[in-house]
C-alpha cells in the first residue's frame, strides 16, 4: 500500500463522516441563533429559541407523551424480547434464525404501510380508540426484532453450565433466572431496551397514524417545520437528538454491539 493511497482512503472516510454529521450539527447550531430564521449568519449565540420551546403550550404534553411511550415500549420489549431470545437460544440455530427473520418482517415493510394498516386495523376492525396505548402496541412491532437480535446474539455464547449448577443445587427455573442468568445478561438486556427506547422516541410515521389526538416530540416538531424554518423547531429537534443519541451511546457501551 502506497502512502498516497492511504491518504486518499482517509479523505474519503473523512468525507463520509462530514456528510453524515454536518447536517445534524447545523440543526443543533441553529437552535442557538438569536435571529428569527434557521440560517447563517448567526450574530450571537442565544437561548431564545430554547425558551420559546419551553413556553410552547404543546411542549410539555409532547415531552410527557414521548417519555411515557418510550419507557413503556422499552420495558415491554425488553421483557418480551428477552423471553423470546432465551427461547430461541434453546432451539436449533437454523430454525431459530428462520424464526428471527420472520420476526423481522415488520422492519422490511415501508413504515408508512405498517402505520396505515395498523390504523385501519384499530379503527375499522377492532374499534379500538387511538390513544397512547395503540402507539405503544404499534411500536413494539419494530422494537422487538432489535431486542431479540441483540439478546439472542448474547445468549448464543452463554454458558448454560452455570444455570445447570444452580438447578442441580435446587433452584427453581425462575429462581435460577433471576439469581444467575439475569445478572449475567443484564447489561445486554438494558442496552437492548435502550435501543428500543431510542427507536420509539424517534418514530414519527407510525406514531402520527396511531396516536389519535395527542402529540409526541416528533409529531410536535413536524407541525412546526411543515410551515417554516423557525429555530424553535431546531431546539425540539436537538432535544430529540440528545435523547436518542444519548440512549444509543449508553446502549452501545452496555451491549458492546457492533453491527
Amino acid at each position: 500500500m502506497t502512502k498516497i493511497g492511504d491518504i486518499v482512503w482517509r479523505c474519503v472516510g473523512g468525507f463520509y463522516v462530514v456528510f453524515l454529521l454536518l447536517p445534524l450539527f447545523l440543526v443543533v447550531l441553529f437552535s442557538f441563533t438569536n435571529r428569527g430564521i434557521a440560517a447563517f449568519p448567526i450574530e450571537h449565540l442565544s437561548l431564545h429559541w430554547w425558551r420559546a420551546m419551553l413556553e410552547h403550550p404543546q411542549f410539555l404534553p409532547a415531552l410527557k407523551n414521548s417519555l411515557t411511550i418510550g419507557s413503556t415500549v422499552g420495558v415491554i420489549s425488553a421483557i418480551v424480547g428477552t423471553m423470546a431470545a432465551m427461547g430461541l437460544s434453546r432451539i436449533e440455530p437454523r430454525r431459530a434464525q428462520t424464526l428471527t427473520a420472520i420476526l423481522c418482517l415488520p422492519l422490511m415493510l415501508p413504515p408508512l404501510l405498517l402505520a396505515v394498516s395498523l390504523r385501519t386495523f384499530y379503527t375499522q376492525s377492532a374499534g379500538i380508540p387511538l390513544t397512547l396505548g395503540t402507539v405503544i402496541l404499534s411500536h413494539l412491532l419494530f422494537t422487538l426484532p432489535f431486542v431479540v437480535l441483540v439478546v439472542y446474539a448474547r445468549m448464543r455464547n452463554f454458558d448454560y453450565r452455570v444455570v445447570e449448577s444452580a438447578r442441580d443445587l435446587g433452584a427453581s427455573p425462575l429462581h435460577a433466572f433471576f439469581t444467575v442468568t439475569l445478572p449475567i445478561i443484564r447489561p445486554t438486556v438494558v442496552g437492548a431496551a435502550l435501543i428500543a427506547v431510542s427507536l420509539s422516541i424517534d418514530d414519527f410515521i407510525i406514531t402520527n397514524f396511531t396516536i389519535g389526538g395527542g402529540v409526541t416530540l416528533p409529531t410536535f416538531v413536524f407541525g412546526m417545520i411543515r410551515t417554516s424554518l423557525t429555530p424553535a423547531a431546531n431546539a425540539v429537534g436537538t432535544l430529540i437528538l440528545i435523547m436518542t443519541v444519548g440512549t444509543t451511546l449508553i446502549a452501545l457501551r452496555l451491549t458492546r454491539y457492533r453491527g
Binding site: L21, P23, V27, P110, D202
Partner: protein
C-alpha cells in the same frame, strides 16, 4: 429439545404480538382493499374496483417513485459498500470510529435529518446564503431545492447507516488471510475486490438494497419537506387516509406498490447474486 414446554412459553408473548398485531392487521388491510366506501363509511364488499382505480390513477406516480427509489437504493448500497470497505480494510485504527459514527446516526433523528436538508438547500438555506454572501450569485439558486435531486440526497443521507451495517457484517466474515493470499498469488486490488470481497458480501448487499429501496418507496415525509410539488406514491397513499378518506383505495394502492417493489427487489437480488468470481 432441552425444555420443550418452557421454550414454547418463552416464545409465546412475542408470537402473540406478531400474529395478533402484525399478521392480523396485514390480513385485514388486504381484505379492506376489496371493500367499498359509501358516504365516507367503509362497507364490506368484494370488488376489484379499487385496484382498477388505483392502477389507473397512480401508475405514473408509481413508476416515478420506483425509479427514484431504485436510484436511491442503488447509490446508497454502493456508497454503503465503499464505507464498509474503508472501515474493514482501509481505515486501520480509525475503522471503529467510522463505524461508530454510522451506528449513532442510525437510531436517531429521522425528522431532523430531513429538516436539516431543508435548512441546507432551501432558498434562504445555508448553501444559498453562503453563495450570496460570497457574491458568487445574486439571487437564490432555486434549482437546489424542491426537485428529485434534493429528495434523493436527503434519502441517501438518512439511509446510508442502514446500508453500511449489513454490508459491514458480511465483510467481517472475510479474513485477512484470504486477502493476503490473494495478493501473494498476484491478484490486483481490483481482482481481489471483484473475486473475493463482492461475492462474499451478497447477503449484506441484498439486505442493504432491499431496506433502502423499500423505505424510499414508501416515504412521504421527505417529498413533503424537500420535494415541493413532486408527488410520490407514499404521499398519495397518506392522502387517501387523510383528506381523501378512502382507505380501501389506499390499501389497494399499497398492495400494488408492494407487489411492484417486491419484483424489483427480486430482480436486483438476482443481479447481485450473478456477480461471481471469474
Amino acid at each position: 429439545m432441552r425444555e420443550g414446554r418452557g421454550t414454547a412459553i418463552q416464545l409465546a408473548p412475542a408470537a402473540v404480538i406478531f400474529f395478533g398485531l402484525f399478521v392480523a392487521s396485514s390480513v385485514f388491510y388486504f381484505i379492506v382493499s376489496f371493500w367499498s366506501v359509501k358516504l365516507y363509511k367503509l362497507r364490506p364488499d368484494f370488488t376489484f374496483a379499487n385496484y382498477a382505480k388505483a392502477f389507473e390513477q397512480q401508475w405514473s406516480v408509481l413508476l416515478f417513485t420506483l425509479e427514484l427509489a431504485l436510484a436511491v437504493g442503488a447509490i446508497t448500497t454502493v456508497l454503503g459498500f465503499v464505507f464498509a470497505y474503508i472501515v474493514r480494510f482501509k481505515a486501520g485504527r480509525y475503522g471503529p470510529t467510522l463505524l461508530f459514527v454510522a451506528i449513532i446516526t442510525l437510531f436517531g433523528g429521522y425528522l431532523m435529518k430531513i429538516y436539516a436538508w431543508k435548512t441546507i438547500l432551501g432558498n434562504e438555506g445555508v448553501l444559498n446564503t453562503a453563495l450570496e454572501s460570497l457574491r458568487l450569485i445574486d439571487a437564490p439558486l432555486t434549482f437546489l431545492f424542491y426537485n428529485p435531486g434534493s429528495v434523493i440526497v436527503t434519502l441517501i443521507h438518512f439511509l446510508l447507516p442502514l446500508a453500511v451495517l449489513p454490508i459491514y457484517s458480511s465483510m467481517r466474515g472475510i479474513t485477512d488471510i484470504e486477502m493476503e493470499s490473494a495478493r501473494d498469488l498476484g491478484a490486483s486490488a481490483w481482482r481481489t475486490l471483484s473475486d473475493i470481497v463482492i461475492p462474499r458480501c451478497h447477503t449484506g448487499l441484498i439486505a442493504a438494497f432491499a431496506l433502502c429501496f423499500l423505505v424510499s418507496v414508501g416515504d412521504y415525509v421527505t417529498p413533503a419537506f424537500v420535494g415541493g410539488t413532486i408527488s410520490m406514491i407514499g404521499s398519495n397513499i397518506q392522502d387517501m387516509f387523510g383528506r381523501a378518506l378512502n382507505p380501501p383505495l389506499g390499501a389497494a394502492t399499497s398492495f400494488i406498490m408492494l407487489f411492484a417493489s417486491f419484483l424489483i427487489v427480486l430482480a436486483v437480488s438476482a443481479l447481485i447474486k450473478s456477480w461471481r468470481p471469474r
